[in-house]
Structure formats: structure tokens, C-alpha cells
């Protein structure tokens, strides 16, 4: 039986937010605050070419003229953008060339997070065990990317964004901002101005990426924001599966994470993008601290028969504002969105997807599972639209909410716009409360209350967990359990 289905067996002892430690690493900061000079500082630090600096400065100018969006169902005090650091990096003379050059302190951080950076350790594993190439981003910079050589042999480029700007400027210039334009929205525009690093992936035509790629993002520094930018291009007939994971220390102030992810998918290509987001959610009682996760993720299925699949497990962050979307431009292109969003304590999530059908025969599928507990608020917001040319477009949306306890809230805000008569859009939604009857039934069979909640919740989210790469599904399952600790009784 698949590990995914073995639900609760894998759920280990419950723990509090376990990534809340701070690492004392010698770091270098840009001066506090935001200005054109800071943008220049960041660009200079990274040794960027003029075109990149110009791009950033233009974004900064545009950002100054924009207003923060206020339509989401989340509440927070205005952000003082001058009270934050926009660049924080572990001190080092120059970028690390290999693992041996990386500060051992830093490697220890990733070891503590359970992230396998040591290629040899991974390689020493059992024959046939899955291997993951990892890019680790610590505050503002990518500290190490593993398995580069092996990926290089397959023609796959997997490196930090800074490196891509230096080494592959033609690809970066061609694709950067082509999916999420500079001034797409307030946070994406801010990101364009000050983004520090992120991952870059290019899979050449016809290549199936030989391993899972993943990036781990870690915010460590105090009063700093993280603005990473990820760009993934699957050329014609290529395939890649990519996973990102995120954690942060427990801090009393709110930290801003405004990332941009752009996916470009050509003819017959496929990108599977999975996220396990576990940023510090803030204090469950007072709501103090936690990450503001204001992220723009979009895939451009520009090729015919191209496919993108977003899978996200969102358990952390004080506030989540995030709508991984698909622009289904290609004929018969396919977009999928599978989401588990869990809110507990004082968390607020406003998340969902946009499926924009432009191509004839394009299809999309949305499965969203929202779980609210504590005094949290959880909103699904989704758009499905079809252009007049998107003849025969199809969408199926299923949107389920589960409420645990009496003080939480769940909202569903679907937008459906069909501009031609031949598309078929289906929307199903349910809201249920974790029932006392079910809990008692499961407990009568021998499970404790916590175990019973985990079993029922894992059952509720099973459809989505199945979409994650298997090892991560197990991780995600544990995360689900941890996030809901103390939510009942």
C-alpha cells in the first residue's frame, strides 16, 4: 500500500513549531530602509550587469506609484517599508563554489531542518533511493546548490538566480518578468526591485529532469524581509518536478516574504511545482509575530499540450496571500491546482488559484481543502475564466472546508467567467464541521483525541496529499498533525 495511504501510521509525536530557532551567523546587511540607493546596493552586491539594475530601478519607480491591495480577507496594520532590511547575507568573501566552502554553521542549520545538502550522504543511501538536488536560500542569498554536475550532464540548469544572471543572461533576459510583469501587483513589483536570490531552472527540449529539484528557503535575520524570485522554464517536451520548503525562526515582529515564482511551459512540456510552506505562524494566543507571506506565483502554459500542476501545503505564516495561477494559452494545455491550507491560532489565509483559459480545449482542475481551527480565518478565492477563443475549455473545481471548533471561520469566494458558450465549468463546494460523532467513533476504537483528529483530517486532505512527491507527502502529513495540535478540546 502506498505510504501516502498509510495515513496515521506515519504521524509521529506532536511537536510545537520546531523550526523556531535562530542561528548566530556572521551576516552582512544593507542599511535599513528602502530607496533607489538600496536597490543599487543590492544589485552591486550581486555584481549584476547594467540591464538588471535598470530593470530593478524601473520596478522601484513603478512600485512607488502603486498601492497595496486591500481586497483580500485579511487584516494587518500598515507595513513600514523603511523599517526593514532588504539584504542580509551570510558573510563570505565570495559565493561558495562547492559544499566544502560553505560555512559549517550554515550546513548545521540545514541539517537541523532535516534537509539533505550533503550529496555524499544522499548518495550513500540505499540503491534506487530517490535523490533530490537542493538549492538552499538563506535570507537573501542562495548558499549552495547540489548535484549540479549530474544535472549539467542532462543539460539541466539548476542554480541560484544570481548565478543565472551572470552565467545565462540570454535566458534570464528572455524569460524574467515574462509571466509576472514587473508591475503586475504591489508585492510582485516590490520583489522585482529588491529581489535578492532564488532558484533558476532550465530544462532543455525533450529532457526529463533526472531528479526532483527542490529549494529550501530560510529567513534567519531579524527585521529582514525575504524576496526571492524563482524562474523555471521547461522547453518543448521537457519535464521537471520541483519542490520548495520554507521555515523561519520565531520572532515577535512580523516579517515580510514577498516572492515571485514564474513558470514557463512550452509545447508538450510539464512542470510539477509543489510547496510545503511552514513559515512561523505567530503566537497562537496573542497573534504576535509571524510571517506575512505575500507571494505571486504564475505559470504560463504557452505551448500546446503543455501542463502545469501546482500542489501546495500551506500550514505556516501569520497571513497568507497567495494565488498560484495558470495562464492556459496553449491549445489543449492543462492546469492543475491542489491545495491544503491549514490555519490555527490567529492565522489568516486568503489563498486559491486563477485558471485563465485562452487556448482551445484547455482544461483545468482545482481541488482545494481548507481547514480552520483555533481563532483563524481561512478563505478560498479562485477565478476560472474562459476567453472567447478558448472553445471547449473545461474546468472542475472542488472546494472543501473543514471547521474544527467554534471560533474559526471558512470562506469560499469563487469567480467564474465564461466568455464563450462551449466551455464546461463545474464547481463543487462543501463546508463541514469535524463532528463529535466521528471523533467519538474513532476514539471508541482506541485512538486518543489528537490521533482521532489527525486521522480524520488526513482523510479529508487525502486527495491532495496524493499529488505530492511521496516522501514529501509523509512530511506534509506530519506537518498537518503538528499544525492542528491542541485544536480540539
Amino acid at each position: 500500500m502506498a505510504a501516502v495511504k498509510e495515513t496515521v501510521q506515519h504521524v509521529e509525536a506532536l511537536e510545537k513549531y520546531q523550526h523556531g530557532f535562530v542561528t548566530d551567523i556572521d551576516q552582512e546587511f544593507a542599511p535599513k530602509g528602502l530607496s533607489a540607493d538600496i536597490v543599487r546596493f543590492i544589485s552591486a552586491k550581486k555584481g549584476e550587469p547594467q540591464w538588471m539594475l535598470d530593470w530593478r530601478l524601473e520596478a522601484y519607480e513603478r512600485w512607488l506609484a502603486m498601492d497595496a491591495p486591500e481586497w483580500a480577507k485579511v487584516k494587518f496594520p500598515p507595513i513600514d517599508y523603511q523599517d526593514s532590511y532588504y539584504y542580509a547575507a551570510p558573510k563570505e568573501k565570495s559565493g561558495p563554489k562547492s559544499l566544502d566552502e560553505v560555512d559549517p554553521e550554515l550546513l548545521a542549520v540545514y541539517a537541523k531542518l532535516g534537509i539533505p545538502l550533503k550529496e555524499q550522504a544522499v548518495l550513500a543511501g540505499v540503491e534506487g533511493a530517490p535523490r533530490y538536488a537542493v538549492d538552499a536560500v538563506f535570507d537573501s542569498v542562495s548558499v549552495v546548490t547540489t548535484f549540479k554536475k549530474e544535472l549539467g550532464q542532462a543539460g539541466v540548469i539548476f542554480c541560484s538566480m544570481s548565478e543565472a544572471i551572470r552565467e545565462h543572461p540570454e535566458l534570464v533576459r528572455k524569460y524574467l518578468g515574462s509571466v509576472v510583469p514587473v508591475s503586475d501587483n504591489y508585492y510582485a513589483c516590490l520583489n522585482a526591485a529588491v529581489f535578492s536570490d532564488g532558484s533558476f531552472v532550465y530544462v532543455p527540449p525533450g529532457v526529463r529532469c533526472p531528479m526532483e529539484l527542490s529549494t529550501y528557503f530560510r529567513i534567519n535575520a531579524e527585521n529582514s524581509g525575504q524576496f526571492e524570485r524563482t524562474l523555471i522554464i521547461a522547453d518543448a517536451g521537457a519535464y521537471v518536478s520541483y519542490l520548495e520548503g520554507c521555515t523561519a525562526p520565531m520572532r515577535d515582529e512580523n516579517q515580510l516574504h514577498a516572492a515571485v515564482v514564474e513558470l514557463v511551459v512550452h509545447d508538450d512540456a510539464e512542470i510539477k511545482y509543489s510547496t510545503v510552506q511552514n513559515w512561523y505562524p505567530g503566537d497562537p494566543e496573542t497573534g504576535k509575530g509571524g510571517i506575512y507571506n505575500f507571494v505571486t506565483k504564475r505559470a504560463d502554459c504557452r505551448g500546446d499540450r503543455s501542463k502545469v500542476s501546482w500542489t501546495q501545503v500551506e500550514t505556516g505564516s501569520a497571513i497568507t496571500w497567495k494565488y498560484p495561477s495558470c495562464v492556459l494559452r496553449g491549445k489543449d494545455s492543462v492546469g492543475e491546482f491542489y491545495s491544503i491550507a491549514i490555519t490555527n491560532g490567529r492565522q489568516q489565509a486568503d489563498t486559491g488559484t486563477k485558471m485563465i483559459h485562452l487556448g482551445e480545449g484547455s482544461r483545468s482542475r482545482v481541488i482545494s481543502k481548507g481547514i480552520s481551527a483555533g481563532r483563524s480565518s481561512n478563505t478560498y478565492r479562485g477565478l476560472v475564466s474562459a476567453h472567447p477563443k478558448a472553445k471547449g475549455a473545461r474546468n472542475f473545481t472542488q472546494c472543501d472546508s473543514l471547521l474544527i471548533g467554534k471560533t474559526c471561520a471558512a470562506h469560499t469566494v469563487p469567480y467564474v467567467e465564461a466568455r464563450n458558450g462551449s466551455c464546461v465549468f463545474e464547481h463543487e463546494a462543501t463546508t463541514t464541521k469535524l463532528s463529535e460523532d466521528q471523533l467519538f467513533y474513532v476514539m471508541q476504537r482506541g485512538l486518543s483525541q489528537e490521533e482521532a483528529v489527525q486521522l480524520l483530517v488526513n482523510g479529508f486532505v487525502k486527495d491532495v496529499l496524493q499529488e505530492l512527491p511521496m516522501e514529501f507527502a509523509v512530511e506534509a502529513q506530519k506537518l498537518v498533525a503538528i499544525s492542528l495540535e491542541g485544536s480540539v478540546g
Binding site: 500500500m1 474513532v442 471508541q444 476504537r445 482506541g446 486518543s448 490521533e451 480524520l456
Partner: protein, 248 residues
């Protein structure tokens, strides 16, 4: 085995069980019969520890151990099993996963090793076969879309796997056609043994044709108002509960 002494219990502030005393020795099957609203289901929930069922007086022990002080899962680990009148649906959790999780949770609570996958599957195959449950059905989420009869058979399968010492069957015959009733009863009879005991709660005498009780008790207005041998069930079937309801 099970000893209940002067038990009083409330639901939502209302007295439902009012001074119930009952002894079920090991190896015996006792039937509890009575009119609607007599407190039959309440008794089963009080014994298994459902929240909202508050004991105000009296005691209930299993082999001398105080049941009322334990959480529902702890009572289950001690070997107390309730076959529900209306088994719950558990979406997304395959019956097999549910069974194995429950079995291992109980074993863990008793300090026993977890059952291995092959061992578990072998056990399930045998027991499912006896209850004429298609093994494929066990890969489906527990009880979701199952018929009434299938759900009841699933309860008996859980019982057979968990191997409890004390069984409470709450209206197990409701919703069963005659063939299903036979299968279920055979399943129950198969676990009868000198070191087990059971309480069979039922409205009708019909079930007792298949699961033969050693003693029959009449529960009315929260108390045992009459007790006797199997013949009492037949008498009730003929005469109804009227006189007991009035007496109470």
C-alpha cells in the same frame, strides 16, 4: 466481568439513567430490551465514555477496574467495544488503514508490539471472508457509501480484528435483512468464549433467535425493572413493554 452499581447519568442536564445495577459475568451474553427512550443507547455511551454523558452517581467496573475514570480510547484498550447503531462514515480513510491504526493504537496502549503488515492482512482476509465482506471493499473509505447492512458487517469485522473482551451491541439488527442478520450473528457467536462477555441491546426478540442470551433484562425509565432467562424475551415480544413502562 462487567459490574454496574446504582448508576445515574445525565444528558444535557436531564436524568436518563436512574439507579441502574447490572452484573454480566465472563462467558455470558445478556440482552437489554426496552421501549424507546428507556435509556438503552445512553447506557452504551455512558459505559464507553462519550462526552456529554455525565455520570452523577454510582460506578461501573470491568474486572474490578473503574471504567468511568478512563478516556474512551483507554476503555477501548481495556477491551471494551461498542458496535454502533449508526456507524459513522470516515471519508478519505480506507477501512484497512482505519482497522490497522485502531489495532495498533490499542496494542500500543497495552504495551504490546505493533502488528506487522503481512500478519495484519492475513488476519483481515480470514475475518472478512467469514463475514462475506469483499476484500476490495476494505480499500474504500470506511463506511462511505456503504449500505446499512454493509456498515453493520463492518462493525463486526472491526470487533473480530480488535478482539475485545467485552462487547456492547447497540441495535445491531436494525437495518439488516434476514441474510445479513444471519451473517452478523454468526460473526458475533464466533467470538463468544468463556473469558468474554457481551451486552446485546435490542428492541426486538428477532436478534435473540440468532444470538442466544443467558439473561434478559428489561430497561425502562433508566432502571432495570425485570430480569429473567431467554423466555422473558419471548414474553416481551408477545405482550409488549406497556406494563413495564407503566411500572417505571
Amino acid at each position: 466481568m462487567l459490574h454496574i452499581e446504582n448508576l445515574h447519568a445525565q444528558v444535557g442536564g436531564k436524568d436518563i439513567i436512574k439507579g441502574l445495577t447490572l452484573d454480566v459475568p465472563a462467558g455470558e451474553v445478556h440482552a437489554i430490551m426496552g421501549p424507546n427512550g428507556a435509556g438503552k443507547s445512553t447506557l452504551s455511551y455512558v459505559l464507553t465514555g462519550r462526552s456529554g454523558y455525565e455520570v452523577t452517581e454510582g460506578s461501573a467496573t470491568l474486572d474490578g477496574e473503574d471504567l468511568l475514570a478512563l478516556a474512551p480510547n483507554e476503555r477501548a484498550a481495556k477491551g471494551l467495544f461498542l458496535s454502533f447503531q449508526y456507524p459513522l462514515e470516515i471519508p478519505g480513510v480506507p477501512a484497512l488503514t482505519f482497522l490497522r491504526t485502531a489495532l495498533n493504537a490499542q496494542r500500543k496502549a497495552r504495551g504490546e508490539a505493533e502488528v506487522s503488515a503481512p500478519e495484519f492482512l492475513k488476519l483481515v482476509r480470514i475475518k472478512a471472508g467469514e463475514l462475506k465482506i469483499d476484500f476490495e471493499m476494505l480499500k474504500r473509505p470506511l463506511n462511505v457509501g456503504f449500505s446499512g447492512g454493509e456498515k453493520k458487517r463492518m462493525e463486526i469485522l472491526q470487533m473480530a480484528i480488535l478482539s475485545p473482551r467485552f462487547l456492547i451491541l447497540d441495535e445491531t439488527d436494525s437495518g439488516l435483512d434476514i441474510d445479513a442478520l444471519k451473517i452478523v450473528s454468526e460473526g458475533v457467536n464466533a467470538v463468544r468464549s468463556p473469558d468474554r462477555a457481551m451486552l446485546v441491546i435490542t428492541h426486538y426478540q428477532r436478534l435473540l433467535d440468532y444470538i442466544k442470551p443467558d439473561r434478559v433484562h428489561v430497561l425502562a425509565a433508566g432502571r432495570i425493572v425485570a430480569s429473567g432467562g431467554p423466555e422473558l424475551a419471548l414474553q416481551l415480544e408477545a405482550e409488549g413493554y406497556d406494563k413495564y413502562a407503566r411500572a417505571a
